[in-house]
Each structure stands twice: as structure tokens, then as C-alpha cells.
């Protein structure tokens, strides 16, 4: 109880990290619902890896152009964010374009993207020993390194993206659920796809920079998959996923702080625990229903 009161205190030393963690937990599932609904969950694995490759590329470029670097501070942080954003956006837009025009399957494209991104990350880091240490921190979840400046940038970006997702939800739903009807209605389906993918790219870039690829993927996918078992309403699905992500992020942070555990894996393990409980409850409910029906 004392630890809980401590992390809720305004003077809590890791307050920025806590807020950043909860923000990632809330906003990632908001875009993650479209991964689930469009059956592109593996994109949630590939894009964070692409984002990580972008960060590795930025470190490599920095070392190549400027020289050896230390921990992510000042310009290096900005450079890493540019690398992450550029790679994620490029990959997202390319996948969006190929979704409509490519001949191979979506899974093949996503699998290839993941393999290329993972290989690129390792190759870039092989030539940059300083970046290697930073990547390990990122993969574990470097959220404790959140600064006031990066948090402010994140709050602004996530607020804009969160509002856009809610404001454009009818267009995004229509294009995702019944693309033909959207076209018949004169909606620019391709444009809405790009808008959605840009928001996804933005969230993933910031998520990976803040919480690492693993936690980002966990929050993109696990809360929406859990909520899909619970609700049959679109709005409840969206808001419930965000609320569940936020709650597990907060609780995960508390557990990591209380029991001295790595943050990202704690959050993902907790989300997975909630998913397991929801699955067991849904299975039990179905079993009871089938027994009652004649």
C-alpha cells in the first residue's frame, strides 16, 4: 500500500515514466483494435521491429557522421526518433500500398518485413557497439529514461492521435468493415487507409522509443484481443481496450516497482494474465450456454 501511495504522489521520482507508460498503454490499443479487426495482428510485430531498425539506423548514421555516442541524450534522442519515425512511416505506407496492389499474401509481406527489419537492426548494430547497449535497453523497455521534454512531445502527439481516432471512427470503421460500401458512399477509402496507417506509424514510433518493441506490440494486440472476447459493441471495444491497456500499464508499473522487475515484460505478462482470465470466462460462459440450450 505504501508503494502504491508513493507512485501516486506528485513528487514521485519516476512520475514521468509512469505517465508515459500509462499513455502507451492507453493509445496503443486504440490503434491496435484496427490490427485485430483488419486481421493484421502480425503487423503489430513487424512494425515495432521496423521502428527498432530505424533507431539502429539512426545510431549507425550518427556514429558514421559525427562519431561515438553515449546514452540517448539531446540530439541523439531526436535523431533516434527521426530514424524510428521515418522507417515506420515508410514501411507502413509501403505495406498500405501493397495491401491493395500486391499479388502476394499479407502474411508473406508482413513476414518479409519482419525478417528484413530484424536483420537490418542487427547489421546496423554490429557496426555500432554503443548503439548495441542502447538497443538492449530499448528491448527491455527504456521507459525509465523518459524525460519531461519527451513526455511533453508524447502527450501532445498521443492526444492528437487519440482524438483523431475517435473523431474519424465512423470513416475508419466503414472503410475497415465494408470498403465497397465506403466507395459507393463516395468516401475516399485509400485516403482513410493512409490516415489510419499514419496514425499507426506515429503511435508505434513513439511507443517503441518509449517502451520498446515488446511492450508496444503487447499493448497493440493483447488488450483488443481481450476486449473482443468481452464486448459485442464497437465503441465499448475501442474504449474498453484503451481502458484495459491503461489499467494494465499502471498495474504493471506498480508490480515492476514493487517487486523490482523489468517494466516491459511485467506489463506484457499482466496483460496476458488478463487475456487468459477473459478466455477462461468466455469458454465457461459458452459451456454454460450450450448446457442450457436444448
Amino acid at each position: 500500500m505504501g508503494d502504491l501511495l508513493q507512485i501516486l504522489s506528485p513528487s514521485f521520482l519516476l512520475r514521468d515514466a509512469l505517465i508515459a507508460s500509462v499513455l502507451v498503454g492507453v493509445v496503443c490499443p486504440l490503434v491496435g483494435v484496427y490490427f485485430v479487426l483488419r486481421r493484421m495482428i502480425f503487423l503489430g510485430v513487424a512494425l515495432p521491429q521496423v521502428s527498432a531498425a530505424g533507431i539502429a539506423a539512426a545510431f549507425f548514421a550518427y556514429q558514421f557522421i559525427v562519431g561515438p555516442h553515449q546514452q540517448m541524450v539531446g540530439n541523439e534522442h531526436l535523431l533516434a526518433m527521426v530514424g524510428s519515425f521515418a522507417f515506420t512511416m515508410s514501411a507502413t505506407l509501403m505495406l498500405a500500398l501493397l495491401e491493395r496492389r500486391g499479388r502476394e499474401t499479407v502474411e508473406a509481406r508482413i513476414g518479409t518485413t519482419y525478417a528484413v527489419a530484424a536483420a537490418a537492426t542487427i547489421l546496423f548494430l554490429a557496426k555500432d557497439p554503443h548503439g548495441d547497449a542502447q538497443m538492449v535497453n530499448l528491448l527491455k523497455g527504456d521507459i525509465l529514461a523518459t524525460t519531461s521534454a519527451s513526455l511533453a512531445w508524447m502527450v501532445v502527439s498521443f492526444t492528437v492521435i487519440g482524438f483523431a481516432l475517435l473523431a474519424f471512427r465512423k470513416e475508419l470503421l466503414l472503410v475497415s468493415f465494408d470498403r465497397d460500401l465506403a466507395i459507393v458512399f463516395g468516401k475516399r477509402a485509400g485516403l482513410w487507409d493512409v490516415v489510419l496507417y499514419l496514425m499507426i506509424g506515429g503511435v508505434i514510433s513513439l511507443g517503441v522509443m518509449t517502451a520498446g518493441p515488446m511492450a508496444t506490440f503487447g499493448f497493440l494486440v493483447v488488450p483488443p484481443v481481450t476486449m473482443r472476447m468481452i464486448t459485442g459493441r464497437m465503441m465499448t471495444f475501442m474504449l474498453g481496450s484503451a481502458a484495459l491497456g491503461g489499467a494494465t500499464a499502471f498495474t504493471g508499473f506498480y508490480c515492476a516497482y514493487r517487486f523490482d522487475l523489468p517494466l516491459g515484460p511485467s506489463e506484457v505478462a499482466l496483460s496476458s494474465g488478463v487475456l487468459l482470465v477473459a478466455w477462461l470466462a468466455a469458454t465457461a460462459r459458452r459451456a454454460i450456454r450450450s448446457r442450457r440450450s436444448p
Binding site: K170, D180, I183
Partner: protein
């Protein structure tokens, strides 16, 4: 002769380099009930999608006797095309029809909700508004999709095999509903079907689609031509 609501002039339709239909010239009059009939794979759905603007016209031109931007057509797709992963209530599905006339950032208001409820009443499913869309029977789902099309406030309704995969009773209910909408609302209806069956007493014209051609005939002519009529019945 009433003015045409959709007219095709020497139209070629297909996918990439493959021509499915060629030299199609026909007009659908306002208030007409037209059935697109033909064998599997003949190009009925291609013709419907061409009329809806879902596939590009490779040659010729299609003209509309209504303002498509202000008043988009109603479209009832094959229900199998929709993915059950979406958590949607019956009311949420119907409400989507009102998006036709809503601009981005414009909120779904009381009037839109009220219209969606009216449309659901019109197809006789108001009591199921809160039910999960995917829990309904095939026939009920099809009526919900018709309600969604009506919620767009269309002048013309395009239906892609609305009775496919439903039982005899549901088929009759759906056909009666479309017939009533055509008669009472003077709503133009263009429907894809494998056979004339139940609809032959309701449709005004038939477009026979086969061998890369589409030919329109009045239902009286079809009935008079025993060969074609028997073919339709045989498929039923």
C-alpha cells in the same frame, strides 16, 4: 417511358486485362425493378459492381439520373463478404447507412439514430436492434443490410444475391420486402439472382447475363419466350 436512373452505353467491364462483359448497352428506368440473371460466373456481379462504380469502366460510359455525391445509391452486398470479427450490434450496422451523408468530423446525431430505427422498423426487425449482428439468421442479416442501405436515403437500391443461402421462407420475406420498397417507395431496385423463382411476379425487367453479353428484356417478353423462361425455372 420514365427517365433512366442508370444507363450504360457500349460498356466494357472486367478486371485488369480480362474482359468479362463487352458492348453492354441498357437503361434502367426510375422506379423499375430489374433482375440480373444468368449462370454462375457469367458476370452478373461484375455488371452490378460496374454500375456501382466499384470497378473501372474499361470502355463506353455509365450515366446516372441522380446526383451520386448528394444521394449515393443503396448497396446490399453478399453478407459473406463481411467479417464477423467486427463487434457490431444490429443497430450499429444500420447506423452505418447514415454515414453516406455525413462528412468527416460530423457527429451521428439524434436524427440519424431516429432514421436508422425507422429503417429497422421498415424491415420488421426493430425488436432486434440491440442483438449482435452475427447472431442473427442469414435471412435476418440480409434484412438488416437492406435497412442499412435504406438509411442512406437512396433513389436506387443495388442488391447482390440477397437471397443466396437462406431458406425458402426467408427468401420469400426478403423478396416481398424488396417488392414492397419498390412499389410503395417507388425505389428503383437492381438485384442479382441466379434464377427468377419468386421474383418473377415482382420484377419489371430482366437482364440476361451470359457469354460476355448482357441483354435487357421486359418480364412479359421473357415469359413469352418459353425457352428462356424454362431455363430460369430450371435453375430454380
Amino acid at each position: 417511358m420514365k427517365p433512366a436512373i442508370v444507363s450504360l452505353e457500349d460498356v466494357r467491364l472486367g478486371y485488369a486485362a480480362i474482359t468479362v462483359l463487352d458492348h453492354v448497352s441498357l437503361a434502367v428506368a426510375r422506379g423499375e425493378f430489374v433482375a440480373l440473371i444468368g449462370p454462375n460466373g457469367a458476370g452478373k456481379t461484375t455488371l452490378l459492381r460496374g454500375m456501382l462504380g466499384l470497378i473501372p469502366v474499361l470502355a463506353g460510359r455509365i450515366e446516372y439520373g441522380f446526383d451520386r455525391a448528394a444521394n449515393p445509391p443503396g448497396y446490399v452486398p453478399q453478407r459473406e463478404a463481411l467479417d464477423p470479427i467486427f463487434p457490431l450490434s444490429v443497430f450499429e450496422v444500420v447506423l452505418m447507412g447514415t454515414y453516406a451523408k455525413l462528412s468527416p468530423l460530423q457527429r451521428v446525431g439524434h436524427a440519424h439514430r431516429s432514421l436508422a430505427r425507422q429503417c429497422l422498423e421498415e424491415v420488421g426487425l426493430a425488436a432486434l436492434a440491440k442483438r449482435q449482428f452475427w447472431e442473427l439468421s442469414g435471412g435476418q442479416k440480409q434484412r438488416v443490410l437492406i435497412a442499412r442501405a435504406l438509411a442512406a436515403g437512396p433513389e436506387v437500391l443495388f442488391l447482390d444475391e440477397p437471397t443466396a443461402g437462406v431458406d425458402h421462407e426467408a427468401e420469400q420475406t426478403i423478396i416481398d420486402l424488396i417488392g414492397r420498397l419498390n412499389r410503395d417507395r417507388a425505389l428503383t431496385a437492381i438485384l442479382v439472382s441466379h434464377h427468377l423463382g419468386h421474383i418473377q411476379s415482382l420484377v419489371h425487367s430482366v437482364v440476361w447475363v451470359d457469354d460476355a453479353k448482357a441483354t435487357k428484356r421486359s418480364i412479359e417478353d421473357v415469359r413469352a419466350e418459353e425457352g428462356v423462361a424454362s431455363l430460369f425455372r430450371a435453375r430454380h
